[in-house]
């Protein structure tokens, strides 16, 4: 566009062109009365009709959906772990006072039962077993197994909650657990030990 074209446009505006265009546009358009009545009736009908509602559309981006699913799975797994699955532990009878919460439900058991690991070091023994109030002090009921290394004898025993008195039967002789509390009530001349299982600390 040149400077000359710009000057011509400016002169046209100054000659009243704009005023004439505006006057033409605002001049009323002749409308037949029948058309007007039909138009107004149509407007009335439309105003009585309920306004259309745009359908709600739920959508998630794939990343968001996957994150939500993973979150739900984690919450579910946490609840299941808390409610159903308490960890199995094999506490040593040596730690009887420190392990009061390691409970493991046993199949078919209604009450909570804990598995207690009994350990006794007797390298030269040929037969070691655990005797106590949980097996009616029967040396044949719970024989211990020799560990692969060293002279330790081991046995895991499921015990009900409570205080249990026990000893080790070592080749027919009785011995208290050197790592456990003494039972105190040694009425028969041979000391015994105590294991506390479960319950409130």
């Amino acid at each position: 566009m040149s400077h000359r074209d710009t000057d011509n446009d400016r002169r046209s505006l100054e000659n009243g062109t704009i005023e004439r265009v505006i006057a033409t546009l605002i001049e009323p358009v002749p409308v037949r009365p029948a058309w007007r009545a039909e138009l107004l009736a149509g407007i009335d009908r439309d105003s009585e009709r309920p306004a259309p509602v745009a359908p709600t559309r739920w959508s998630l981006r794939p990343v968001t959906a996957m994150a939500a699913a993973m979150g739900c799975m984690m919450v579910g797994a946490t609840i299941a772990a808390l409610v159903l699955g308490r960890p199995q532990r094999g506490p040593s009878a040596s730690d009887v006072l420190t392990d009061l919460t390691s409970t493991m439900p046993m199949p078919g058991e209604q009450a909570t039962v804990s598995v207690v690991r009994f350990i006794f070091v007797a390298p030269n023994a040929s037969r070691v077993s655990v005797v106590g109030d949980f097996n009616r002090w029967n040396p044949a009921a719970m024989p211990m197994r020799r560990s692969a290394k060293g002279g330790a004898w081991l046995l895991d025993i499921p015990l009900s909650p409570g205080r249990h008195v026990y000893s080790f039967s070592v080749d027919g002789d009785l011995a208290a657990d050197p790592a456990a509390p003494q039972s105190g009530d040694d009425d028969f001349g041979v000391p015994s030990s105590v294991v506390l299982v479960g319950g409130k600390a």
Binding site: D133, R136, N138, R163, Q182, S183, D185, F188, G189, V194
Partner: protein, 218 residues
């Protein structure tokens, strides 16, 4: 009633013998057997123990501990007089323990309390421990752990007032079970190293009470 109890005892005893390989035949009321089979209780002794168990149950005290005590005596080759005396003493101590610890005491507390009485604690000591526990806001916790530790200290010849004071202090601070185990183990070590039981307990208890930053279980 007696027939039912006899049948029950027979069934339990039979199961016990089967589990043990059916090697022995001696049984006690309540299902406790003599594993070695060398010593059997006479009918009179069995009856006395059964009556004692009935008496305990009648006052809602556990009777299993006295049958366990009798079985322990059989295994340890004690004579019947000694077994019966031990069983009677235990029954009496169970009753005293409940009087001291209160009617809400569970079986673990009762048996541990009975053991504490057996080795030199007084009923007042047990009652004091319960009171301290309640005052410390630990009324929902069991006293079994402190009582077991107390028995262990007393069995190691710690003077009862010293042992009771140490345990009471830990209960007042709501010490976790680990502290009682630590006290017991440390005192045992000190005694083996030549320290007197009294000095060992005093030093170790003070150490635990003044240990900083230890987690206290609610």
């Amino acid at each position: 009633m007696k027939i039912t109890r006899t049948v029950f005892a027979f069934l339990i005893g039979s199961a016990s013998l089967t589990n043990a390989g059916a090697q022995q035949s001696a049984t006690l009321p309540g299902g406790f057997s003599s594993p070695e089979g060398h010593t059997q209780l006479s009918p009179a002794t069995r009856q006395a123990i059964t009556q004692l168990g009935d008496s305990l149950r009648a006052v809602h005290l556990p009777d299993a501990p006295i049958y366990a005590k009798a079985a322990e005596g059989l295994l340890k080759a004690a004579d019947e007089t000694r077994i019966l005396a031990a069983v009677r003493t235990l029954a009496r101590e169970l009753g005293e323990a409940r009087e001291s610890l209160g009617g809400g005491a569970d079986e673990s507390e009762l048996t541990a309390g009975a053991s504490a009485l057996h080795v030199g604690a007084t009923p007042a000591t047990l009652a004091q421990l319960r009171e301290t526990q309640r005052s410390a806001g630990g009324g929902d916790r069991s006293l079994a752990v402190p009582l077991v530790a107390l028995v262990d200290l007393l069995a190691r010849r710690v003077p009862p007032p010293v042992a009771s004071a140490a345990i009471d202090s830990l209960v007042a601070k709501r010490a976790p079970p680990e502290d009682f185990a630590a006290l017991r183990a440390a005192v045992k070590q000190d005694i083996l190293a030549g320290r007197t039981p009294e000095a060992a307990v005093r030093a170790r208890a003070q150490g635990l009470l003044h240990a900083d930053g230890r987690a206290r279980t609610p």
